[in-house]
């Protein structure tokens, strides 16, 4: 392995700015790393080697010409295959979109290009972002770089695995029920779900519109903050985008100070069903924060227990409508168009063949929940629960600045273990779903390894909407103190792929 792939985005940024290394060299190093390890990790669905190198050379040329460039110019990045990208396919991990080349860039794709980041390729994901392991990808699962027999989490598992395997210093994903924070936690890296509306959804192929939130992955809190800042901000193309300045996340990550902060431990997010080693690492992290000057109290959010069922009505309802457009008429897979079958049959055959089991399960679930006569009992009731969860957060944030919990109930589970048990799979998002339902901000930062399996555990920090900077203060403080204890970043303990 070359040094370049071990460097953080912040370190690469400094080296690039100082002219110590070229963007082309950095890009080539990461492409080499992908070539060396991705057959085992399967983080990527498409690698854009030529485009990436061309973009890197362009950055180098502009830098030589003295053009002012942003901090991430020349830094490679991996993009979840749910963002539209001109010149690269966008499949969402689904057969139904296999080979689709979108004619437009997502707002975030455009911003990444604008910032000068080098898009290495598109990463694997659970089909249409539905899942917690990448096992629902039509193109096979990604693997956890800590243990290739285990899942990297999901749905943004490819992005998390790419960063954890040093294939990219940065990646973007989307979080609908935990799809950034859960894979970040089980891969031992940092992942943030920004405030809903803080990062644009334009060009993000929709799973559940009222929940989908694009966000950053990095190996360090500062890296995640740099990417968070570059990708976020108001977008007039997204009606739900918030017209407000991006919270000062980079400054907060550098501040890394929790003295005087009020931290609430959520009572409901622990106990039965949680892996003991996850709970012990979490408890130690909380003690550590207290030792750094935070005031820790326990806070009850009584309706969090209903978050999972509410989520599994709202998200499928929205997805049943959002995924209706995949009908073989305009793009993507088309099955049965033999000149005899009518349009309706072709639509049905295409959807039967093109969607995987989990996607179909959720479409059926959502179609049922929205049906006349059932709407009030299911979708309507779930929206009421959502309001109660928001009220729980409001009450809690009246007492504390941030809430904390484990990011996931367990560490990474073996591939195949939960594949046939949807309920067990859904539980992986138990801690992350409340923030999605409320639309506020949350982060997962590594806080050690569970003693029983040696796999990484994530500390989950939740903050009010538009207070994303608080996440970075807490996460960066924890990161610094823990690295001090360990003498190195957690990821350095991974057995590795070499």
């Amino acid at each position: 392995m070359t040094e370049l792939t071990r460097m953080t985005a912040a370190e690469l940024s400094a080296a690039l700015a100082a002219g110590e290394v070229s963007a082309a060299e950095v890009t080539l190093a990461h492409l080499d790393r992908i070539a060396a390890v991705d057959s085992r990790v399967h983080a990527f669905l498409h690698v854009a080697a030529d485009r990436a190198l061309a973009a890197a050379e362009d950055i180098d040329k502009r830098r030589r010409a003295g053009e002012p460039l942003g901090p991430l110019a020349g830094v490679p990045i991996a993009v979840k295959d749910v963002f539209t990208t001109v010149g690269l396919p966008t499949t969402c991990g689904s057969r139904i979109l296999e080979g689709w080349h979108p004619p437009y860039d997502a707002t975030i794709t455009a911003r990444l290009k604008q910032a000068g980041t080098i898009i290495l390729g598109k990463t694997n994901m659970d089909e249409f972002a539905m899942g917690s392991s990448t096992e629902n990808s039509a193109f096979g699962p990604s693997r956890n770089p800590w243990d290739l027999s285990r899942v990297p989490g999901g749905s943004s598992g490819g992005s998390a695995a790419a960063v954890a395997a040093y294939e990219a210093p940065l990646a973007i994903g989307t979080d609908t029920g935990g799809s950034i924070r859960q894979p970040a936690a089980v891969c031992g890296i940092v992942g943030t779900k920004p405030t809903y509306g803080g990062s644009s959804r334009y060009g993000v192929v929709a799973f559940a519109s009222s929940l989908d939130t694009p966000g950053p992955f990095g190996r360090t809190v500062l890296d995640a903050a740099l990417l968070h800042e570059a990708m976020s901000g108001y977008d007039p193309m997204d009606s739900t985008s918030i017209d407000a300045p991006v919270p000062p996340v980079v400054a907060a990550a550098r501040q890394a100070d929790v003295s005087g902060m009020r931290i609430g431990v959520v009572t409901e997010l622990s106990g039965a069903g949680y892996q003991p080693g996850v709970l012990s690492r979490f408890a130690e992290a909380v003690e550590l924060l207290e030792s750094l000057g935070a005031k820790v109290t326990e806070v009850s959010c009584p309706h969090f227990s209903y978050a999972l069922p509410a989520y599994y009505l709202i998200a499928p309802s929205e997805c049943s409508s959002n995924l209706a457009r995949f009908d073989a008429m305009r793009y993507g897979l088309r099955v049965g168009d033999d000149g005899v079958r009518d349009a309706e049959e072709v639509m049905a055959l295409t959807r039967e063949r093109g969607f995987g089991a989990e996607v179909k399960r959720r479409i059926i679930l959502g179609t049922y929940a929205l049906s006349s006569g059932y709407y009030d009992a299911y979708y309507g009731k779930a929206q009421q629960v959502r309001t109660l969860i928001i009220q729980d957060f409001d009450a809690a944030f009246g007492q504390v600045d941030v809430l904390v919990s484990p990011a996931t109930p367990t560490t990474a589970f073996p591939i195949g273990e939960r594949a046939d048990d949807p309920m067990a799979m859904y539980l992986a998002d138990l801690c992350t779903i409340p923030s999605d339902l409320a639309g506020n901000a949350a982060i997962s930062v590594p806080c050690g390894r569970a003693p029983e399996d040696g796999l990484p555990v994530g500390l989950h920090v939740m903050a009010p909407a538009l207070a994303d900077d608080r996440l970075y203060r807490v996460a960066a403080a924890a990161e610094a103190a823990l690295a001090g204890q360990w003498g190195h970043p957690l990821l350095a303990e991974a057995k590795g792929l070499d």
């Binding site: 963002f83 539209t84 966008t90 969402c92 979109l97 689709w100 979108p102 004619p103 437009y104 997502a106 959804r201 334009y202 060009g203 993000v204 192929v205 929709a206 559940a208 519109s209 009222s210 007039p236 193309m237 997204d238 009606s239 739900t240 309802s317 929205e318 049943s320 409508s321 209706a324 457009r325 995949f326 009908d327 008429m329 305009r330 793009y331 009518d342 349009a343 309706e344 639509m347 179609t367 929205l370 049906s371 006349s372 709407y375 979708y379």
Partner: protein, 500 residues
């Protein structure tokens, strides 16, 4: 189950036994420059699929953004229809699969429409009836399918279908009436008069060109029948493909005749969508509402709620043009018309034309005379609407002017009108080119009068005896001799002078 038994019952007979209730759902395509949720142009008749983008094609990842002008236009319509404007409302998704719907859901409004509970006063015969407006809401139009091959031009049996998405995403306003009761046999005319009045109102608001033939105004007609005096309503049908004012009237009439037949035979009217056929004037069954799809409406999560500010609504209200009913009352007073005169102008769709002719200098009575007389006959012969005739109010005013000046008589004026309609140019051009001016040379007329008297001595004798009314043949002879270009009144005057 008996569903379609029975034969058509003649309308008058049906009205003896049954009482109809009608309702109308009218779709108006707004004339905004750009589409409802994206920046694409809305020009009618453009090259297929040339006015499209990721948003109106519903490409994966695309998102809608509300066109503020469409909201303003809808509020304008709502206010003109005396509706309450919601202070907060949402769009909803209406989910169903159809190839010309890019997302397989339509962004519409469901239980939270922008405008509710208004009315429209509709002139009928020599009075007006007040039609209640249930709601006015905003939605996006679908694309347009062209079904090629097959007998019906509809999707079933077609060889293949082409879809044009230029129309997809054009803002569409749906105006739904409350049930209209108590019209009796006038139901078909009331339906037509309502659409006519609504069309005039919307056109006057400047928010749509409301062209039925281009589909920028589309109408669904609901009809039900119940036995007279039963005090209840029957099962309604919804008739689609009603593409002209005349069809609105015919569709209601035809449904009444059909439903009366079903009920007479002891059958049950099925709640269903029916398709109107322009050629036969009848309807056939479409989709049955009883097995209709469940649209699974839910609030559109990609959009934020619409909350029109009260100040903005009042600004829009203050800028509304004069309502058609108020305008009619004003013109009636200005022109000195009886209620019946006004009704005939209104029924002929001639109010705007007369007003413009008056504005171009004609007297109100002359303007009315030409539009309701010669021009109405022409339109009727051509089966066209008055407004679509190839003559402008300014041209009509000029013809009235030429008659008043004595340059033309009524007969010559009719010839000029025919020539203008035939595309021979302005009235003055026609008069010159055809040499149609009245003969006003007194010497020439006097000679013709003398010749006529000499040729009809018996007639001349009776006139001399005081039988003034007997002068007709003499006037006719003079007119014939001058090729019709003389002023008949002047000719009569000369004859009577000579024989007195």
């Amino acid at each position: 189950m008996t569903t379609s038994m029975g034969t058509l019952v003649p309308f008058a007979e049906a009205m003896e036994r049954y009482e109809p209730v009608i309702g109308l759902e009218t779709h108006v395509e707004l004339g905004t420059r750009t589409k409802m949720f994206c920046g694409c142009a809305t020009t009618f008749g453009a090259e297929p699929n040339s006015q499209v983008c990721p948003v109106c094609l519903g490409l994966p990842g695309s998102l809608p953004v509300i066109n503020r002008m469409a909201i303003e236009y809808t509020i304008r319509i709502g206010l003109a229809l005396n509706c309450t404007i919601a202070s907060w409302c949402r769009f909803a998704r209406k989910n169903y699969f159809y190839p010309d719907m890019p997302k397989n859901f339509q962004i519409s409004q469901y239980d939270e429409p922008l405008c509710t509970d208004g009315w429209l006063d509709v002139p009928t015969g020599d009075s007006a009836i007040r039609v209640g407006i249930e709601r006015v809401h905003l939605e996006e139009d679908t694309g347009k399918s062209l079904h090629v091959g097959g007998a019906t031009g509809r999707i079933h049996g077609a060889e293949y279908s082409l879809v044009d998405y230029n129309r997809a995403g054009i803002p569409l306003v749906e105006i739904v009436t409350k049930p209209v009761e108590g019209t009796g046999a006038a139901a078909p005319e009331v339906a037509r008069a309502y659409v006519t009045e609504l069309r005039g109102l919307v056109r006057g608001l400047g928010v749509s060109d409301v062209r039925m033939e281009e589909g920028s105004l589309r109408c669904d007609v609901n009809t039900s029948l119940a036995p007279r005096g039963s005090g209840r309503w029957g099962t309604r049908t919804e008739t689609k493909n009603v593409n002209s004012l005349r069809s609105v009237e015919r569709a209601v009439r035809s449904e009444i005749e059909r439903q009366a037949g079903v009920l007479d035979a002891g059958g049950r009217v099925v709640q269903e969508t029916r398709h109107f056929h322009e050629d036969s004037g009848t309807t056939t069954a479409g989709r049955s509402k009883e097995e209709a799809q469940d649209y699974r409406y839910f609030p559109e999560p990609d959009l934020v709620p619409v909350a029109p500010d009260a100040g903005w609504v009042e600004q829009i209200r203050a800028a509304l043009p004069e309502a058609p009913s108020a305008r009619r009352a004003r013109l009636q007073a200005e022109w000195g018309l009886s209620d019946l005169d006004l009704a005939s102008l209104s029924n002929a769709g001639a109010i705007d034309l007369v007003a413009e002719t008056v504005a171009a200098g004609a007297s109100p009575s002359d303007a009315r005379k030409w539009w309701l007389g010669e021009l109405a006959r022409n339109a009727n012969d051509a089966g066209a609407e008055l407004a679509s005739l190839a003559i402008t109010p300014a041209q009509v005013a000029r013809i009235a002017d030429l008659v008043a000046a004595g340059t033309l008589n009524d007969r010559l004026a009719r010839d000029v009108i025919d020539a203008v309609l035939a595309g021979e140019g302005d009235p003055d051009d026609v008069v010159t080119a055809r040499g149609l001016a009245v003969v006003s040379d007194e010497g020439a007329l006097a000679t013709a009068v003398d010749e006529a008297i000499a040729a009809h001595p018996d007639v001349a004798a009776r006139v001399r005896q005081g039988k003034v009314a007997a002068a007709g043949p003499l006037v006719g002879a003079v007119m014939k001799a001058t090729g019709g270009k003389a002023d008949a009144a002047r000719v009569r005057e000369l004859i009577l002078d000579r024989l007195s």
